[in-house]
């Protein structure tokens, strides 16, 4: 296989556990701050 035939490298996707952790962080931060704005405004 020549160098030109080699397929381009794809960025790796995070592992499942890390993705779950990420979703938990994203949900808690966005949802929490939105709920705070609704129930405890300035």
């Amino acid at each position: 296989m020549s160098d030109l035939q080699r397929p381009p490298a794809q960025p790796p996707r995070p592992a499942l556990m890390l993705r779950l952790l990420g979703s938990a962080l994203l949900v808690s931060s966005v949802y929490l701050v939105s709920c705070q704005a609704l129930f405890f405004p300035v």
Binding site: L4, P14, L25, S34, L38, P41
Partner: protein
């Protein structure tokens, strides 16, 4: 005689193909029930395979979370407006706007990664939509925490950082700048790579021009030419020495067809003329022939080289008294 079970009614084309294949091969339990000639079935299978999209559609709900999560902020903004707190309403609306922009950009980024034809050789600058979506989401969290909830700058920043980290782990930020498709210290190979990247850039431009064309026949012709061009590029990538043989194709015809297609698209918008359409069609037919000839020429060289190699091997075997 026991009848075979009825095939399920609700099957997708992809699931149906193996079944039809087994019928064609005569190994299926349904084969005796088939009254359709095998040649027609084969054509059906082949046609279905050709029409199957090469790229998968993106998951329907990918990125949907970002639209749903800030819903309480919408109610907060409406309540602030109802109770006459303009400053609170503006803060909530700004946060909500950032969240919506983030969700939209992320969805576009996810879809683009699925649908877009990935360039094989070219390194093109593209907006990192998912990254921008992540930044908008993090900024939205920071702005809401600071101005709607009244947190201090440190806490707001911490909120934004947590959201950015969560976004990165869930959707992943795109890397800025595409890496080279391959790396080579060889000067000759690098030249080939640059030529291929430039040629693919032209093909991508050509496809973009074709997408804007109203005439389906001319559009199909241009897309076919582009597919032929890609085939030739693949051939050159397989054997970089072909570049020198295909240089005229890369420099003259590819650039020519791109300019003519752009010219047609531009002029056609201003004046709808049959003559112009016919002229453009003639050019496309010629280009299609030239591209096919070019491909055949490269293939013939392959065969010729193989003949020479076989001849050399035969002579070597003769000389060593093996044959």
């Amino acid at each position: 005689m026991t009848m075979p079970p009825k095939p399920p009614r609700d099957v997708r084309l992809n699931e149906l193909l193996p079944l039809v294949r087994s019928m064609v091969a005569g190994t299926s339990a349904y084969a005796p029930l088939m009254k359709i000639p095998h040649t027609a079935l084969r054509a059906l299978v082949q046609g279905a395979q050709e029409t199957q999209p090469r790229v998968q559609p993106p998951p329907l709900l990918a990125g949907a979370l970002l639209w749903v999560l800030p819903t309480p902020l919408l109610f907060a903004a409406m309540i602030a407006l109802g109770t006459g707190h303009l400053d609170r309403f503006l803060a909530d609306a700004a946060g909500l706007g950032l969240f919506m922009a983030g969700a939209w950009l992320t969805r576009r980024g996810i879809r683009a990664a699925y649908v877009r034809q990935q360039p094989r050789f070219a390194r093109l600058w593209r907006w990192p939509l998912k990254t921008l979506g992540g930044l908008a989401t993090a900024l939205g969290v920071g702005v809401t925490a600071a101005f709607s909830v009244g947190q201090g700058p440190a806490i707001s920043l911490a909120f934004a950082a947590v959201a950015a980290l969560g976004f990165h782990l869930t959707y992943g930020f795109e890397s800025l700048g595409r890496p080279r498709a391959f790396w080579s210290g060889d000067e000759r190979l690098r030249k080939v790579a640059d030529a291929l990247a430039e040629a693919e850039g032209r093909l991508l431009d050509l496809e973009q021009t074709a997408a804007a064309m109203a005439n389906p026949e001319l559009k199909a012709r241009v897309l076919r030419i582009s597919a032929q061009g890609r085939g030739i590029l693949e051939q050159i990538a397989d054997r970089p020495t072909d570049l020198y043989r295909a240089r005229k194709f890369l420099n003259v015809y590819l650039e020519g067809v791109q300019q003519v297609a752009e010219g047609y698209a531009r002029t056609h918008r201003l004046a709808d003329s049959r003559e112009l359409e016919q002229n453009f069609r003639n050019v496309l037919v010629t280009v299609e022939q030239v591209f096919e000839e070019q491909r055949q020429k490269l293939l013939r060289t392959d065969v010729l080289d193989l003949d020479v190699q076989i001849e050399v091997l035969k002579k070597q075997l003769d000389r060593e008294g093996i044959a």
